[in-house]
Symmetry: C2
Subunit: 397 residues, 2 copies
């Protein structure tokens, strides 16, 4: 018997799923333990020259109403119509594997519940960190751990820009333009550079690790558009690389604190060496100490690889995998305000400032230093105002 | 109903499994979907002051013949009596999770077959890379990929020594002595420094990725005892860190080439930043491009965390997970000789040598350079002899 699956969307990721599947069909079938084939590809556009032209449909109902299709790969992006399509598939008992982080971050709890009710699976490995296996290791391999913190470089576009600023002394605006030219950044780059994309991903990780849906709107998010070259250079002298870090910390009171901020990462931390469009996720637990996952966070085949890995898993499991799931949350009162985020901090102050007890680095654009003790975000902000600071950022040791 | 498991061995790892289990019992049971408890701990020694004193037994048959025990964690080390004990458990349908790389590297095929025949599982995540989830991601999350190469820093002791040589200019003998004082190296450090430990681990990875048992005796293995400070320093100037790299490459003819060698890792490669006792595994595939897994490769709780993760998985699955398995191999003729290992190479030659077409770095102990083109091991060895080279090592880009 051959298992049939459908691919929703024939953009970059969706076409990658089909291509990679046919390239490695034999070994994929061996791993899945059954023959497999793509029966439909859903897209409103025409692809007359595609070798898979006979598989295209513009009508979602062809897929929904075909009982032979037991698994679906959703690669359309955006909340609608993806949400309606995915929910309908799950209600028919068809497992869905998605690369759509917006969908998972906004509607994950509902879709997980629907999958559970209809004894199928909603998988989303590809929605965080592209090719990096992180969702499954988090809930499975690290199952024996009390996970205390997860911190990641979850957006390739901003990491490319920061790497260019660092390596080539290229100002933010030029690096962004280059990223756009290379296809790493969209014409409207807001979602990437202002941190919204990284925010969605840390929401998915937070929901999975802590068991309750965390909404993007409850997460403090600051992007990299205000990071200046002089801070990148000063951080280097002080022993740090500036990265856009999305993190979630478990607090002693049981609440969690997810946030996205430009952050100084110590050169002693392996994550400081994650460059260009690469992503990484660092997991801290009481058993493992720290473990990092690294790889391409986006791109046609890396993302397709993660989607297909999920499709294979869905084909192998014909019952719901409960552990890779979380509950709905009527409110996000368990999400702590960023004001209580604790860290050491970097400050850049005017050159004539009086600061004591720190080793300050003097340069053309002021005086930069990292304080030795930890302060909350609220305290650091107050200190920055008092000092008339030109910049302040947290530090990841 | 409460699931009962037994822990074989109460050394560093075995005691860690028990401690970590009771520390995180509640969340572990939530993830396993059932109550769990340790029923027996097997050790020939007495532990009268242990809080778990009532669970100890010196008689393996207590465990074997107790039908209530459905899962076993093997943390004894060594091939015997571990092999006999594990095989007996599997024959009774008890799943076994092990941290014992020697056992898996020598007898993995037999034990996987036994598990399959008795519809239970033989899991070994902890046998490679300690806390790093690598076995499961390799066969699951990366299932859609044609994996072309895996390269790793798989031994913490040698990585600690090389890091000390690099950071502190400490000669090999002194760094080894320090590692022994800190408990990172054993009194007889041969298995670590001569690469045998890394060899066992790359055998396990090779077997899993390519589906057939690869025996340690068929793998070319060279340790770090001949790595000199001057080579570490020269490599740095040329843009590389020297690491003990265990790798396996898939060749065009379908054969594989596993080997263990001190290797120059380019600073452009994230693995060059893996220091101290940390381990890492870099996986190359046609979909993912490259993905790296990083973490503590040894130690009480990191290893215990991986064993417990497997125990939880075994408790959740009451049927054999076929995909995490490989076949027996009557011979290792599919393992290619190291002579055909292809790479760029580093050479150190006497100062008065005539070399052309390379940028050589002159220093007190000779002249160091990396060639621009690829050569096989056999060709590089011939070139080294012709040049009267004082050292030569492959390069990982």
């Amino acid at each position: 018997m051959s298992v049939k699956f459908a691919v929703l969307g024939h953009g970059v990721v969706g076409s990658g799923v089909v291509e990679l599947f046919y390239k490695n069909k034999k070994s994929i079938e061996k791993r899945a333990g059954t023959e497999m084939d793509v029966k439909y590809i859903l897209d409103l556009r025409d692809f007359p020259d595609s070798p898979y032209a006979d598989k295209f449909t513009k009508d979602f109902n062809d897929i929904l109403n075909d009982d032979e299709v037991t698994s679906v790969a959703e690669c359309m992006g955006g909340v609608e119509p993806a949400f309606t399509f995915v929910k309908s598939c799950l209600e028919k008992g068809k497992s869905v594997s998605t690369s759509n982080k917006e969908l998972v971050a906004e509607k994950g709890d509902i879709l997980l519940k629907t999958a559970k009710e209809h004894n199928c699976n909603f998988f989303f490995e590809a929605s965080v960190g592209g090719a990096i296996p992180i969702i499954r290791p988090l809930h499975r391999c690290l199952a024996a751990n009390d996970i205390t913190k997860v911190a990641g470089i979850l957006n390739g576009t901003t990491n490319f820009i920061l790497t260019k600023m660092y390596n080539d002394n290229m100002p933010f605006a030029d690096a962004l333009k280059l990223a756009q030219e290379l296809g790493y950044a969209e014409k409207d780059p807001t979602a990437d550079i202002e941190g919204h994309d990284a925010c969605r991903k840390i929401c998915i990780i937070s929901s999975l690790v802590f068991g309750k849906h965390v909404y993007p709107s409850s997460v403090y998010t600051k992007g990299i558009s205000q990071v200046e070259l002089c801070d990148v250079a000063a951080a280097d002298v002080l022993g740090y690389a500036i990265k856009l870090v999305a993190s979630v910390t478990k607090l002693d009171n049981g609440n969690i604190l997810p946030c996205v901020m430009p952050t100084l990462v110590s050169y002693d931390n392996i994550m400081s060496g994650v460059n260009d469009v690469f992503n990484s996720v660092l997991v801290y637990g009481d058993g493992i100490d720290q473990t990092m996952f690294y790889g391409r966070g986006a791109g046609k085949f890396p993302t397709a690889s993660a989607v297909l890995g999920d499709v294979i898993e869905a084909v192998k499991h014909n019952v719901t995998v409960f552990s890779q799931s979380w509950e709905s949350a009527s409110d996000n009162s368990f999400v702590e305000n960023v004001d209580s985020y604790k860290s050491r901090w970097y400050f850049r102050v005017p050159s004539d400032s009086a600061v004591e007890g720190v080793e300050a680095y003097n340069h053309d654009d002021g005086m930069s230093f990292v304080i030795n003790n930890e302060l909350t975000f609220a305290e650091a902000k107050a200190k920055a105002e008092k000092l008339g600071a030109l910049a302040f950022m947290p530090v990841l040791e």
